[in-house]
Subunit: 687 residues, 2 copies
């Protein structure tokens, strides 16, 4: 249990007593330095040695063999981060002289990074010297991130611990998908996301570039794709190439997705002949599954796709091209007599069979342009060749079934960031559980997984807090040994990782306050903090239903209270952790009882909080939450008092309090409380 | 005096008593709506009418005459901001139907926006309807910003007050210069800065693109300019065109500066023949005035400049090109025998005379490429034609002298953002004071002014807080009537303006916390807030001397405590305001006395604060500041006690306290306190 951890989401009321308690509980940073492992992801092997290597003026860096421009740039970039962190200027080692840090790389790695790129590295640090060795640039890039994460500080300066690390990823495919179709994200957002991915050693950026709601990549051959299907929000080919280069510089592949044959309304606005219904089409503004689907029976469709894929293959060098293939409801095919006649003539029974035909025709086009196919679960039909890769949104069973048939796959079920699940839930999802029942050969076909950022409710302003820091937990699941499973330790390190991500320029922490200031119309939002710290967005289903009911579209604003709140805020784990430690033995933890009392007091009905919530309609929606928090504060103080005094509560007390918690469980202003399980446990403990 | 205002820089300790006092002192937002004027800049004329126009579902917008794409885009952009602020979807008015807001524009305005563009507009709002009228797109863009700033909220929703506004700028040239030579700023930073400029109705972005430390714009004719002179940090021509278009869309001109003949080291790295000394040259890493200067005696220099300026003239359509012309120390000219011989032959005595010759040769080249010349004070030599514009870093007298000779000019002395002066100091600087002594004709030659962001100590991460919100005060000085001079009212509105700027995506508020989290290595920085809220960076001279002494270069990190702190934080004005109100009558202001007591208590020696300051070397530097703050907290409580009780302090008390304040005046960790004048006044009041 981390006594320090509960303090930062508590908001503003901190007493001297609490601070003294906290100071006592934490090892003073001014005393002897002790290595605190905050590595994320955890390395495959770590051995701690004796002593420290100072990061101080004179620290120099050199290469013991040749290195290429990518490695040079990566080292310069990371040294600049090291300098910014420490204020210490790092020098290039003089020719022939021994460097403090030697970087030793066997070769540059693959010309186009592939699934089998060697990302391993070793890091040996002694009090005199550090040696980073890797087979490839990419391995060195991974090792440099580890090096930066190892640094510890005290008043005297900055230090690297003596350690020996042998590291390599558990899975070869560790990805993040961003859907820029439903809401567009500018290049600057994509690039800072790539920075975050590199920080946690992810290696695939899956760019969902087209969907019903928008076509986001320039085609010079088919200019009406963006000209009529993007509202002007798209990437030029130059920008896409810039992103590919930016990713490669960080050891990240870019897999573009062109979702076909369904999810294609935006294509058909400018090119209605692609469709299986007469049209005309307009950009879809709603969310869900829609009817427009490509017509596989027209040769013009295949000519179009051949040229388009050829054009895209020039921009995206990765071996894979993602063709989507999901959620085709078959409606247009069923209503098109010509397509039905074609299906009958070719013995294609039903939507799945026609789509299998579609994929059979598509595959040689991809092959012609040098691309392997990857698609969502639905692409997996019996006659597909074995080098098609399946991305499973359905779950491990679907993935395992594919593996048994000889198909490689990646897992995304359980990694949907828009579901608003806590990091711990994602962390528990293993693409290859210990009890998988797969043979070693079958197991080797599970390539890894991908976090998915679907963007119904995501804007450039809010995307960072939807992706980070939770994705770091997924990245660790995909990199670190299967045995690394402690959720408490993950959350301890995630809190530090979150700051490292912020230092890279991500806005996942700062945006909450900025949004609250905007909503409240004042910089003085301290009084809101105790409330906001224990609220998070409702789950995906609740918001979806609400959005449908309220006619929310892609054009609706995303600047409400729910958008300001990050999912899985620190209170969720830390308050639960604090409470469960307390409940193990209420009498023996006076300092935790004091902390809980102070927290409960900070929840009290605060006239200034109420007033501030009344300043705007969006905040006023949350007024019931402030009232409920106050009730829970009172409830908490009463429960502590009963537990410490041994006095019994009056009859009906528990039932009344549980009823309040039941009421607090209901969504208000699309928010939910993070503290209810812990409060329920507390109330139930009172007898 | 704003009782609410002191709360948000006070940090974390807020008591119920304070909150109750604050609630009592502020008109409840839930009671009857009252128009609060937060316009920045203030309009030329404002008349408040009766009633309110609701911004609610059904609010529609239409044009009563034709409009072009620029206006359409601007309206869409601003309506999207309105939607984000209110959550209300705004509709296009149905054809033929009456719109809630009608936009009526006479014509698009100049094809290339010039100094004399008509920026005037009128805004008439009744409870039924709003009418925005302007002669040009640019005027409409100004009026839309006013409209957005007028919106008020209560629990029921959002409202526009019934008003009648006639607006036009006092000065035609209202600029912001950014030096991207000493530290580069990416396009994303430039674009969000342009958003901020448009918000406060500024109309010139002066882009200082070249200096000794870097050449930041691609030349296809002379690729070694960036190839060897930029460290790879430069704008492509496409990016520069994008910025020009982005600015034009917001009614902002882009004036590029190519600083010659001095400040040109970066040119000479790739093209040493331009120089007056043999070379070779390398990119300058230090700060100051350096010797490299172009050789005006070689014809090759003029061929180079002719071609280069022609190339740049294609990218930057503005009528003006800034040629710098400042701080040429003449050393290379003095040491070059050929140049000295040339000078003697041409009767050019001294550096100024040679530079006058340089400008004489330069002028026809600019003219040939359709450009007028603007330069710093030094360009003003007797033989220059009258359409050269002078930018004065020397002050009003220099500007007035030019105006008397017939030269137009703009003022920058007094608007140097890197000097770390408070907004009030800039606000007091008027380019055309009432007592200027100029004739109306001469006065008309004072075109306006420019805020200057020189970048010795500025990074992409910190630039926002160096520019904003102080620049909004300068923007108001340049737009609003001369009679708008209340500093208290300016600060009241600046606090709101600061939030509006944040809502545009600027990071001037959020960066401080993000930087403190990075320095402290923990998200739990509440205990630092009371200290950081009353610290700001030292003035320019103090930092310059420190930097020289410590060998600071362009490559040095800019992530120290001083970089995290914004200049002129709210505490500076608000604490002074609170104290002066209190001191007017200490007995009659119990609620202010209570607020001061609470503030002083929040300054007490806090073991957790001390511990946190010990976690990193950069923070540990500020430990003496925490001690001094604690001493001032004690001093403050004692002073309040003496004043309220009428008891006399012991002998020597005052002298001892003043000595503490003297000590606190000295720079520590490149920081200074904002509260010293108020504390001094308090101590002096004790008798």
């Amino acid at each position: 249990m981390r006594v320090g951890a509960w303090r930062w989401w508590m908001g503003s009321t901190v007493t001297a007593a609490m601070m003294a308690a906290a100071a006592l509980a934490q090892p003073g940073a001014t005393t002897q330095l002790e290595f605190v492992n905050t590595l994320m992801p955890q390395p495959a092997q770590l051995t701690i040695g004796e002593g420290w290597l100072p990061v101080a003026p004179g620290f120099s860096v050199g290469f013991d063999r040749t290195h290429d421009e990518r490695l040079e740039t990566a080292v310069q970039r990371d040294l600049r981060r090291l300098e910014n962190q420490t204020g210490v200027m790092i020098q290039d080692a003089a020719p022939g002289a021994a460097a403090t840090l030697t970087i030793s790389v066997d070769g540059p790695g693959e010309a186009v990074q592939g699934v089998d790129e060697d990302e391993s590295c070793t890091l040996d640090i002694t009090p005199q010297h550090a040696l980073l060795h890797a087979a490839t640039d990419v391995g060195a890039i991974r090792g440099l991130e580890t090096l930066l994460q190892l640094i510890q500080a005290d008043t005297r300066g900055f230090w690297l611990p003596a350690v020996s690390i042998q590291d390599a990823p558990r899975f070869r495919w560790r990805g993040l998908m961003i859907d820029v179709g439903r809401h567009f994200e500018p290049v600057s957002v994509i690039e800072r996301t790539l920075d975050g991915m590199a920080e946690v050693k992810m290696n695939v950026f899956h760019w969902h570039l087209t969907d019903d709601q928008g076509f986001r990549i320039e085609s010079k051959l088919y200019p009406r794709l963006t000209g009529m299907g993007s509202d002007g929000q798209y990437y030029t080919q130059d920008q896409a190439r810039e992103v590919v280069a930016y990713a490669r510089a960080r050891g990240i592949r870019v897999v573009p997705e062109f979702d076909i044959p369904g999810h294609t309304t935006s294509w058909m606005v400018g090119y209605p002949d692609l469709a299986s219904a007469p049209g005309p089409f307009s950009i879809e503004r709603r969310f869900g599954v829609f009817d427009p689907v490509m017509d596989p029976t027209r040769e013009s469709t295949w000519e179009f796709l051949d040229k388009f894929i050829g054009e895209m293959a020039e921009i995206f060098p990765d071996a894979f091209m993602h063709i989507g293939g999901d959620e085709n409801n078959g409606v247009e095919w069923q209503h098109n007599a010509k397509i039905q006649a074609f299906a009958a003539a070719h013995d294609l029974h039903g939507t799945a069979a026609i789509q299998a035909y579609f994929n059979q025709r598509l595959l040689p086009i991809l092959t012609k342009h040098g691309k392997k196919m990857i698609g969502w679960d639905e692409v997996l039909t019996p006659d597909l060749p074995k080098d098609v890769v399946v991305q499973s949104w359905r779950g491990f069973d679907s993935l395992a079934a594919g593996a048994k048939q000889g198909y490689s796959g990646i897992l995304s079920a359980g990694y949907y960031l828009d579901h608003m699940d806590p990091a711990s839930a994602h962390y528990r999802v293993d693409p290859l559980p210990a009890n998988s029942g797969l043979t070693p050969e079958q197991a080797s076909r599970i390539l890894g997984g991908e976090a998915c950022m679907w963007s119904e409710s995501v804007s450039p302003r809010t995307i960072d807090s939807r992706i980070w820091p939770r994705t770091a937990a997924i990245a660790e699941r995909l990199w670190s040994p299967r045995t690394v499973t402690s959720e408490d330790d993950m959350y301890r390190r995630l809190a530090v990782e979150s700051l490292r991500l912020e230092a890279l320029g991500l806005t996942h922490i700062s945006q909450e306050s900025a949004s609250l200031r905007a909503l409240a119309g004042t910089p003085d939002i301290d009084t809101l903090r105790p409330l906001m710290a224990v609220l998070e967005p409702v789950d995906f289903d609740t918001r979806s239903k609400w959005s449908q009911h309220h006619g929310v579209t892609t054009l609706s604003p995303l600047d409400n209270l729910v958008d300001a709140l990050p999912p899985d805020p620190p209170s969720q784990h830390d308050f639960g952790d604090l409470m469960s430690t307390y409940l193990q033995d209420p009498i023996d933890h006076p300092e935790i009882e004091a902390a809980l009392q102070e927290t409960f007091r900070s929840w009290s009905a605060d006239p200034r909080r109420m007033e501030l919530l009344s300043t705007s309609p969006q905040l006023a929606e949350a007024l019931p939450r402030a009232q409920q928090l106050a009730e829970m504060g009172t409830m908490g103080l009463e429960a502590l008092s009963y537990l410490s005094s041994g006095v019994q509560p009056p009859p009906g007390w528990k039932a009344q309090k549980l009823a309040i918690l039941d009421e607090a469980q209901k969504p208000v202003a699309l928010t939910r409380f993070t503290i209810l399980p812990a409060m329920r446990a507390l109330v139930n403990e009172v007898r």
